[in-house]
């Protein structure tokens, strides 16, 4: 394997892990505040559809992104109302959101564009295009650094960089600010927050809204950055993979980055090596390679990877009066 192949693999790893990263950080805010969210998938999908649809209609990817974020935030609010205000079961509410998103996007897509639930192909300003970082072309011919900088680091869409920057930002917010302290506390022991004179409800809604915003960015990237339009069920379980990555990462932003990159790398390998010859075994079928990220998801969710302690008050509605 030469350097070029490695750079290409890592390059597509970054590209493929960005939507996971958004969803994973979204889940991190929500679960750190004590709200389990298995509706990440639905929010990604809804945002993917609305961002592609509005980008197609208006011709502006930014308006598309705004629409995607709005859709995702609205779904997050539904989850918030169900699980915070009405103290419902957070898993059921999440499942409902996933079904809602999966059905509605296909239905509205067919109704608006009449091409089988897809949106028209996007091009030009209706898509996020790769950004060339400064000096990328100048450095391209320098050995080692050249390909690493201009091929691997440069040349992604803006949202990939936003996603990567969201990791240290999230860490800083969680561990260095007042809001972060309260957010972590409300996921561990909401009574401590309540007796401290801070509204549990408000904090949890804030976390849910951030979750919606980040999922919105992830969905917009899926349909208008990574792909050139929406196709039915295009999130393909990424929301669930992000959940697995979140558990794998023990709810910590830095580890979340590594976990998402790992999933992204597996996907990149599956795409590049459609068939692998292994001596004695024969050819590994392409289906197996494509299934690898999902198999890893199951292994992680089944708890085979170390002990991960979730936030203590996770999944439990906060009830104050008897």
């Amino acid at each position: 394997m030469d350097l070029l192949v490695v750079v290409q693999l890592l390059d597509s790893m970054l590209r493929l892990s960005a939507p996971l990263l958004f969803a994973c950080l979204a889940g991190l805010y929500s679960e750190r505040a004590g709200i389990f969210d298995i509706g990440l998938e639905g929010k990604l999908l809804a945002s993917a559809f609305f961002s592609a649809a509005f980008a197609a209609i208006t011709g502006s990817v930014w308006l598309g992104m705004a629409a995607g974020i709005t859709a995702s935030v609205l779904l997050a609010l539904i989850h918030g109302v169900a699980s915070i205000t009405f103290r419902g079961n957070q898993l059921i509410s999440g499942v409902a959101i996933n079904f809602l998103a999966s059905g509605l996007t296909a239905l509205i897509g067919q109704n608006w564009f009449k091409i089988g639930g897809r949106t028209p192909s996007l091009s030009g300003d209706a898509r996020f295009l790769p950004v060339d970082l400064p000096f990328a072309s100048a450095l391209a011919d320098v050995p080692i650094i050249g390909p690493l900088y201009s091929d691997l680091i440069s040349g992604h869409t803006i949202l990939v960089y936003v996603g990567l920057l969201a990791v240290p930002t999230t860490w800083w917010i969680l561990f260095r600010t007042r809001f972060g302290l309260r957010l972590r506390a409300v996921g561990e022991n909401p009574e401590a927050v309540d007796t401290g004179g801070i509204s549990v409800t408000r904090l949890r809604y804030q976390a849910t809204l951030i979750c919606g915003l980040l999922c919105g960015l992830g969905g917009a990237y899926l349909a208008t950055g990574m792909a050139a339009g929406f196709i039915k069920d295009m999130s393909a379980g990424k929301g669930f993979m992000a959940l697995a990555a979140l558990i794998f990462a023990k709810w910590r932003p830095g580890y979340a980055l590594y976990a998402c990159l790992l999933f992204g790398l597996l996907e990149a390998i599956a795409i590049r090596y459609q068939s692998i010859q292994i001596a004695g075994v024969g050819t590994v079928p392409v289906q197996f390679m494509q299934a690898l990220p999902y198999i890893l998801t199951i292994i992680i969710l089944a708890g085979f990877v170390g002990k991960a302690i979730p936030p203590r008050a996770g999944g439990v509605p906060y009830v104050k009066e008897r």
């Binding site: 260095r176 600010t177 007042r178 009574e191 007796t195 401290g196 004179g197």
Partner: protein, 521 residues
């Protein structure tokens, strides 16, 4: 004359049909320690929760330092200078002490300056009031005594002038409790007002200046502590005269029933919770096991009750009791003549959503009287039996179809006790028999345990209440960190000595030897 620090006028609060507080008025003078006593369910905690903005009163007025206040939430209470130390600490377990102290009272968006400010304040308070804690320790690493100090520090950091403590000593050793009282006195001398809620009369006498008594949601009396005594307060709490300590005959022990040798028990995580303990209990005697909660008491109960496995040797009437594998389950334990009254009656002793007559049969449902043929239950006989028992044990209300969860703590305990001691067990293992039980029922339950002893049963009594150990046990062993750190004859020891043992300050071998000599001499 200065205005009272706190004045409540005609406070009422109902939860559904239950009137938790009825028309309560109380006035707390500044710079005093004011005790509020009452049985469980008398409404003390509800009243304080209203004062702290956790609940809203249906009716009534609150005055703080002479000014009428509306306290809709905790924020308002904090702003009014009221701080509260809850019975169950409201701390975030995996946060540091500093993070817990500043949580909710941060000055600005960034954390660091608030943490630094808290650090220097903690330093001052630690020196001023014996409130020493490591600011960087995680809460889960601290002892309960230290966790409580963090709660007090939290209140002081928020500039509380009026400090409410709800059952503060329930989880403390006597030494830790004394330390707490020293802290409270020095806070009072610095000008703070302290409200102490408790059901322990000893504490009221030890530390308060004034005491108010609550019964069934009403305030029945307010007296100066120096003008009263525990007996008088107990009567005010219960509404009739009670025996705080029962008359008991000297024990007349017979042959050894329970003999434990080098028993070890590990919990589910593999941590050893009982380390080579040995003890004996004979017919007609009560061995008390004292110690602060969480030092291996639960494991001892569970292994004897057939709910946990262990290693070592346990003999019942000279026969080896299996500690793991076949024949070590709870059902087999009953056949060995061991009755088990679990410490958490709501979790292990009763099914809360089942009726009294069903609960009265649990564990004994295979008995002849409960069965009709090989498959059916004899419901009639089970109900008759339950009716009898409820009458005999004075369970109120005497309704066999009431759900277990609708009885008070004391009546729930009576149901469990009635069921367990009915078959005249050789050994009764009983954990925290009067936790959450009101004073009136305590007397009854204690009498039942004593009667069983006098009938020739061996009783192993596990209790964190030293008062209970002193009024029931003939001998007492102290558990600390899974080991027995000392054994005493109850009539020859005192609370001070046991308190030291409970804190893990074990006697040196030399002391033990000199004591042994003095006994033989």
């Amino acid at each position: 004359m200065t205005a009272p620090a706190i004045e409540l006028r005609n406070i009422s609060k109902a939860f559904g049909p239950v009137q938790a507080n009825k028309d309560i008025s109380i006035s707390v003078a500044p710079k005093t320690i004011h005790g509020i006593v009452g049985e469980n369910g008398a409404g003390k905690s509800t009243l304080m929760s209203i004062l702290y903005g956790f609940y809203r009163a249906d009716k009534g007025e609150i005055f703080v330092n002479g000014e009428q206040m509306d306290i809709p939430n905790s924020q308002a209470a904090i702003a009014a200078g009221i701080g509260m130390v809850h019975q169950h600490f409201k701390l975030v377990q995996n946060f540091t002490v500093l993070e817990n102290v500043v949580l909710g009272a941060e000055d600005q968006i960034l954390l660091q300056p608030s943490l630094e400010k808290a650090r220097s304040l903690l330093q001052e308070l630690a020196e001023g009031y014996e409130l020493k804690v490591d600011p960087d320790a995680l809460i889960e690493e601290l002892s309960v005594g230290h966790q409580q100090r963090v709660e007090i520090l939290k209140a002081l950091y928020r500039r509380a002038n009026i400090l409410i403590l709800d059952e503060p000593t329930g989880v403390l050793t006597p030494a830790e409790a004394d330390h707490l009282f020293r802290i409270l006195r020095s806070l009072r001398d610095e000008g703070k007002t302290i409200i102490l809620i408790t059901h322990k009369l000893r504490e009221i006498m030890a530390v308060t200046d004034t005491v108010s008594v609550m019964r069934r949601g009403e305030m029945t009396a307010t007296v100066k502590t120096t003008d009263t005594n525990p007996q008088h307060l107990a009567e005010l709490m219960v509404g009739r005269s009670v025996l705080l300590r029962l008359q008991k005959e000297k024990a007349d022990p017979g042959s050894t029933v329970l003999k434990i040798d080098n028993l070890c028990v590990s919990d589910s995580r593999g941590v050893e919770r009982l380390k080579n303990i040995s003890m004996q209990v004979r017919q007609g005697e009560i061995l008390g096991i004292a110690g602060v909660d969480g030092n291996g008491q639960s494991e001892l109960l569970q292994v004897l009750g057939g709910l946990a496995t262990g290693t070592g040797s346990v003999e019942i009437n000279g026969q080896e009791l299996p500690l793991s594998g076949a024949g070590s389950d709870a059902q087999a334990r009953r056949e060995w003549g061991i009755a088990h009254v679990p410490e958490d009656r709501q979790l292990l002793g009763l099914v809360m959503d089942f009726m009294a007559w069903e609960n009265m049969a649990f564990g004994y449902q295979h008995d002849e009287r409960c069965r009709r043929g090989p498959f059916l239950m004899d419901i009639q006989s089970m109900q008759d039996y339950c009716r009898d028992k409820m009458k005999q044990f004075d369970v109120r209300p005497p309704s066999i179809t009431a759900l277990a969860k609708n009885f008070s703590g004391g009546n729930q305990q009576k149901i469990v006790l009635a069921r367990e001691i009915d078959r005249n067990p050789d050994l009764l293992v009983v954990g925290q028999p009067t936790r959450g039980v009101d004073v009136g029922a305590i007397e009854f339950i204690h009498q039942q345990i004593l009667d069983l002893r006098d009938a020739g049963a061996a009783v192993l009594l596990i209790s964190v209440e030293l008062d209970e150990i002193f009024s029931l046990a003939d001998r007492v062993a102290v558990l600390f960190d899974g080991r027995i750190v000392g054994e005493r004859v109850v009539s020859e020891t005192n609370e001070g000595e046991l308190g030291l043992l409970m804190a893990g300050i074990a006697e040196s071998p030399a002391q033990a030897e000199s004591r042994a000599i003095s006994v033989t001499a």
